[in-house]
């Protein structure tokens, strides 16, 4: 009999049978894990298994390769305070869907677990959009696609970084990248790029930057591409940016 205890974050829940569900969580020490939860569709349990919720987990299975079953207890539900805000809720869904789709099963990622936990808390704070972009870049690193945003790939000055090469994922200084700027991604201020007065545009650049590498590197070989929740979040962001830049800054501040 295989058995472990851990804490985890709910990524997705798929109803199975009349009352149960297959729960997928990002656990602290065992990484992405799936297991059957009895009575998951009961009114008492449904609220416990919402995406983003922190759970105390007991997983057990007769053999290691089996699906196994979870006993769960709610620790916290950071998503509850985000229900009224479409953008923040979209970010929560996007982060959970990215982990669910990108991570391999049963491979420990304690750093990513704590990072996701910190992000879910930060989503209720003032600089949540920047935190979200930084988290996506950390996810890329955890998946083996680290970006090098600390120095210029072309040998330029470190204090002049302004672009990122879509080929190498390395930063490029304004001086060295000037001739190729139409082919480079913009490095936002909060990631070490040039000072920008337009906070919304800066966030837009950050999301495009991480989104590009998620799509072309991390999800390049996934048959279904980027998760639907990430695409929906980007669409909503684009709408918000398109309709009113001021409203976005108010939302982020």
């Amino acid at each position: 009999m295989e058995r472990w205890e851990d804490q985890g974050i709910v990524l997705s829940v798929r109803p199975h049978g009349e009352n149960g569900a297959v729960l997928r969580v990002l656990s602290e020490h065992h990484g992405l894990c799936a297991g059957y939860v009895r009575g998951a569709q009961s009114s008492k349990m449904r609220g416990t298994l919402e995406p983003g919720n922190g759970l105390a987990l007991v997983w057990q299975s007769r053999t290691e390769g089996q699906l196994g079953s979870f006993s769960v207890e709610l620790i916290d539900n950071p998503g509850a305070v985000l229900l009224g805000d479409a953008l923040r809720l979209g970010a929560l869904q996007s982060a959970c869907a990215l982990c669910d789709a990108a991570l391999p099963e049963q491979e420990g990622h304690p750093g990513l677990f704590h990072g996701l936990r910190a992000l879910l808390t930060a989503l209720d704070g003032p600089v949540w959009l920047q935190a979200y972009v930084i988290w996506e870049i950390a996810l890329l690193k955890e998946l083996g696609f680290a970006l090098d945003l600390g120095r210029c790939a072309g040998g330029g000055r470190r204090d002049d970084l302004a672009y990122v090469s879509p080929k190498t994922g390395r930063a490029v200084s304004a001086e060295k990248g000037q001739a190729y700027q139409d082919r480079l991604l913009v490095l936002p201020q909060f990631l070490g790029g040039p000072a920008s007065a337009d906070e919304a545009a800066d966030i837009d650049c950050g999301l495009k930057l991480s989104g590009y590498f998620l799509e072309h590197w991390a999800f390049a070989h996934h048959t279904r591409g980027l998760p639907e929740a990430r695409l929906r979040f980007m669409n909503r962001m684009a709408q918000t940016l398109g309709s009113s830049r001021e409203s976005l800054i108010v939302a982020s501040g």
């Binding site: 995406p51 916290d76 539900n77 509850a80 009224g84």
Partner: protein
Amino acid sequence: MNTDGPLEMLIRQLAALPGLGPRSARRAALYLLTRRKTQMQPLAQAIQQAAELVRECTACNNLDTADPCRICSDPRRDAGQICVVAQVSDLWAIERTGAFKGRYHVLGGLLSALDGMGPEQLRIPTLLVRVKEPAVREVILALSATVDGQSTAHYIADHLGPGSNAKITRLAHGVPVGGELDYLDDGTIITALRARNAA
């Protein structure tokens, strides 16, 4: 034992119902067979009648024998308020309270990428058409306080906004009646604090 006989077929059909397994289906079948006149035949008739007569209302998607349903055709109900719910069971829950005198719109589910429910699968286009009617003053989004429920509410609110004069409201979130603070989760308490009213 004949696996295709009428008794086995009855047990199989009963076992497929929610809440019933093979053992309880056998018990139910035996119960019905020992009360053919008083239970079994009336039940068969009721099922037959419901299958033939109950249909979806073309206006709100409620289930009724009439189309439009009794709620949509009742002149005493306020046509200016539309309460959007996910399922007919939610409509029944609100109707049980007797507190709402407007009309409904049943979506038929919630947006969920996992379950393959997109906007096309829900009855959102017909809602958008209904809301454009000049009589409609308010759309109440009575969807569950879950991530999927509120994502659906945000999606509808985004799409109802342009081209509509109706006010869009949603149900309050917070402490349930009879709920003790000590037993509530942190998220519910924070939400309730943020939505507090003047005493």
